[in-house]
């Protein structure tokens, strides 16, 4: 009896001590030897394991780039599949180090949820998919329609807002996972299925009769998708930001996975600073100076990751659009390394 009490008090004290030390994310990851990355798991183009268990996607490549910068080894990532409603709790509680799961940046998520959004690795907007047989040309004709949607998303809120703003009646059918929502839409439970436009392109491929469905032209919201980290660790926040910037800068400077070794010999000071042959630009991040070289060598630049996962090299064939570089009419812009 007595020893039990002692043990209980000790365990309590241990629990307090253990949970108090978690500010140094980078050190924790290095000690653990693997990066825990909160991923989608069911969305083609962003995060999806194939039949051999190999993960692919734009967000997956982002986590691989982080692992390349930290460990110089893209395999040192553990992908943790999360659904939309559990993802923030998993990040808040420290189960994952970074959440790269096509997550929309909003003010409440950036503040009261205790998260920091850093960069936008995909500029998106919400769209609708309907059956061709309904002969609809616009989302504004959807009044009174039943719409299948995944819960715990900005999509769910935008949907209600859009119908309210346009004074249309709405019947929402909400599901915990995108898979269930899509299946219900396919079975005829709903007239329309809504999610981010990039997601629609991927989800449409999973329907029984792909050609029976069309995506309506309206984009009803701004969905800046990007990785998120916890409040309170500026160094880790910086690493996540600059991993994306390194990939965008590499594309702008014409550095690719194939030519990065040749580019190391370049005289261009921008390239020299990025690849770590001049200056000490990894120190401030707590990484080695060739951190960006490692990323480009093992994952590639932003454009390569885009085309491979969602662009012309993929089944989705999404155009660069808003995600083109700033000097090519898009919104992807990165501060310089100096």
């Amino acid at each position: 009896m007595k020893s039990f009490v002692v043990r209980a008090v000790l365990a309590g004290a241990l629990a307090i001590a253990a949970s108090a030390a978690s500010a140094q994310t980078l050190n924790t990851i290095k000690q653990r030897g693997v990066l825990n990355c909160g991923s989608n798991g069911t969305l083609a183009g962003f995060g999806l394991p194939d039949s051999q268990g190999r993960w692919t996607g734009l967000d997956v490549d982002f986590c691989k780039a982080l692992a390349a910068a930290i460990f110089n080894d893209v395999t040192k990532v553990k992908f943790v599949p999360l659904n939309t409603k559990d993802r923030f709790t998993a990040l808040q509680s420290g189960e994952v180090d970074v959440l790269a799961r096509n997550t929309t940046w909003t003010s409440s998520r950036d503040t009261s949820l205790g998260l920091n959004f850093s960069v936008v690795n995909y500029f998106d907007g919400q769209g609708f998919m309907v059956r061709k047989s309904l002969k609809l040309n616009s989302a504004l004709e959807l009044g009174d329609a039943a719409v299948c949607v995944q819960q715990g998303t900005t999509t769910e809120l935008n949907l209600a807002d859009y119908f309210r703003a346009n004074k249309m009646k709405l019947k929402t059918v909400t599901f915990a996972t995108a898979t269930e929502a899509l299946k219900a839409y396919d079975a005829g439970r709903c007239d329309a299925y809504t999610t981010d436009a990039s997601g629609l392109a991927g989800e449409r491929l999973r329907l029984a009769q792909i050609d029976d469905h069309i995506i309506l032209p309206e984009i009803i919201s701004k969905e800046p998708l990007g990785p998120a980290v916890r409040h309170g660790d500026d160094q880790w926040f910086d690493i996540v930001k600059w991993t994306h910037y390194a990939m965008v800068n590499a594309e702008e400077l014409g550095i690719t996975q194939a030519n990065v070794d040749d580019q190391k010999k370049s005289d261009n000071p921008d390239i020299k600073r990025l690849l770590g042959t001049e200056g000490k630009h990894g120190e401030g991040l707590g990484l080695s100076d060739d951190w960006a070289y490692r990323i480009i060598k093992q994952v590639g630049n932003y454009g390569e990751a885009f085309e491979r996962n969602v662009g012309q090299g993929s089944t989705l064939k999404i155009a660069r659009g808003l995600n083109a570089l700033w000097n090519k009419g898009g919104l992807q812009f990165a501060p310089s390394v100096r």
Partner: protein
């Protein structure tokens, strides 16, 4: 007396078993209080350090999302608190109806399994052994997809005689609207119910005294159904119906019963009925065979024997495990989240939690709600159990 008391040397308090036991209990309580306090304090500190919002201020904030089944007034501009009540009522609805259906089905199957009819008892056994051994989640997914796939699309709706529709969007029934003047029919209904109860009590007393039986069922039906209808007809039938009609996409108007709700209700009832059937069978077999034989020798028929002799005694064995099954229905209704039924877990511990990010508060409230529902259910069942338990003389 005092003189005979031997003078013992005073033992140290630590060897006094009573003092030790009190000391240990105080220590244990203190440790538990300390652990609970430090857990709460630690959680609050961690939340504050991560700058995660805490407290219950979110309750009055605008929810902003739509809910497919709302039994109380709710709009996307309502508060999170309102969404909580919508979810709670949806949970209570499916749990209450599930308990009623599972009890009826479970009793029928439990009795059928003991039947002398070979086919009937084998079919009941087959039902119990199959349903009991397949995970509930799979059954719910099966029912949901079966409902969706088996029912026709919205444009090929099955018309139900009387103005209803059935399709894969749900079951749509005419909604009665009671206009002014229909109040008298409600009064007649209330009077009919009161009169039937009084009649039943009188009939039972008379049967106890004289052995003569009275047609309680028929008189009751007449008083509770025919009389209010007659009153309604006499007052010119002041009830209109809001008939569902095909809109551009969906069916508008009428009462709408969602396929998610039907699938969850069927799944829960059918699954739990298999367990209740076993509880009932165990209860009936616990009544010694001599009771049945004695009843037969008094000239009672099998049906009356079962109803008047066996089941009342079996109930004492049935009620405690039946309570657990009722609690299971309520708790299992949380699986609604898999098939899109908006219960408390889906709305509150799902969407609200995700939007506010206040996992600790939301989960604590949700757990407290399920605990309360379960304690109330088992409290009521314990009350009933005390009433029917064996009175020892």
């Amino acid at each position: 007396m005092a003189a005979v008391e031997p003078t013992r040397p005073k033992a140290p308090l630590i060897y006094n078993p009573q003092a030790c036991s009190i000391a240990y209990q105080v220590l244990l309580c203190a440790a538990i209080v300390f652990l609970a306090w430090s857990a709460i304090h630690n959680a609050a500190e961690n939340l504050a350090r991560a700058k995660i919002a805490s407290g219950f201020g979110f309750w009055d904030n605008t929810a902003g999302f739509d809910i497919s089944q709302t039994l109380i007034q709710y709009a996307t501009t309502s508060s999170y608190g309102r969404a909580f009540w919508v979810g709670l009522i949806n949970t209570l609805l499916v749990a209450a109806l599930g308990i009623v259906l599972a009890t009826i089905l479970g009793f029928l199957i439990g009795i059928a399994r003991l039947s002398k009819n070979w086919l009937l008892s084998r079919m009941a056994s087959f039902y119990v052994e199959t349903i009991r051994n397949i995970p509930l989640l799979l059954q719910l997914l099966f029912w949901y997809n079966a409902v969706l796939k088996a029912l026709p699309g919205i444009r090929e709706s099955l018309a139900i005689p009387g103005g209803g529709f059935l399709n894969n969007r749900g079951l749509f029934l005419p909604q009665p609207i009671f206009e002014s003047g229909s109040g008298i029919a409600l009064v007649a209904l209330a009077a009919g119910i009161a009169a039937s109860i009084a009649y039943a009590v009188w009939a039972k007393r008379r049967q106890m005294a004289t052995g003569r039986q009275a047609p309680v069922l028929w008189v009751g039906l007449g008083l509770m159904v025919v009389m209010p209808l007659a009153v309604l007809a006499l007052s010119g039938f002041p009830v209109t119906f809001n008939y569902p009609e095909a809109g551009r996409f969906n069916i508008r108007g009428g009462i709408e019963i969602l396929p998610e709700f039907m699938a969850l209700l069927f799944g829960l009832s059918i699954y739990t009925a298999a367990f209740i059937a076993e509880v009932v069978r165990a209860g009936i077999t616990s009544v010694v065979k001599g009771q049945t034989e004695a009843a037969y020798s008094l000239g009672l028929r099998p049906g009356a024997t079962l109803r008047l002799v066996v089941i009342p005694q079996a109930m004492r064995v049935i009620i405690p495990p039946l309570t657990s099954q009722y609690l299971n229905i309520t708790k299992n209704s949380t699986l609604a989240v898999a098939i899109g039924y908006p219960d408390l877990v889906q709305i509150f511990a799902g969407t609200v939690l995700n939007q506010t990010g206040q996992a600790v508060e939301v989960i604590v409230i949700t757990m407290a709600v399920y605990l309360t529902i379960s304690l109330v259910t088992s409290g009521l069942m314990n009350l009933y159990n005390r009433r029917i338990s064996l009175v020892e003389r």
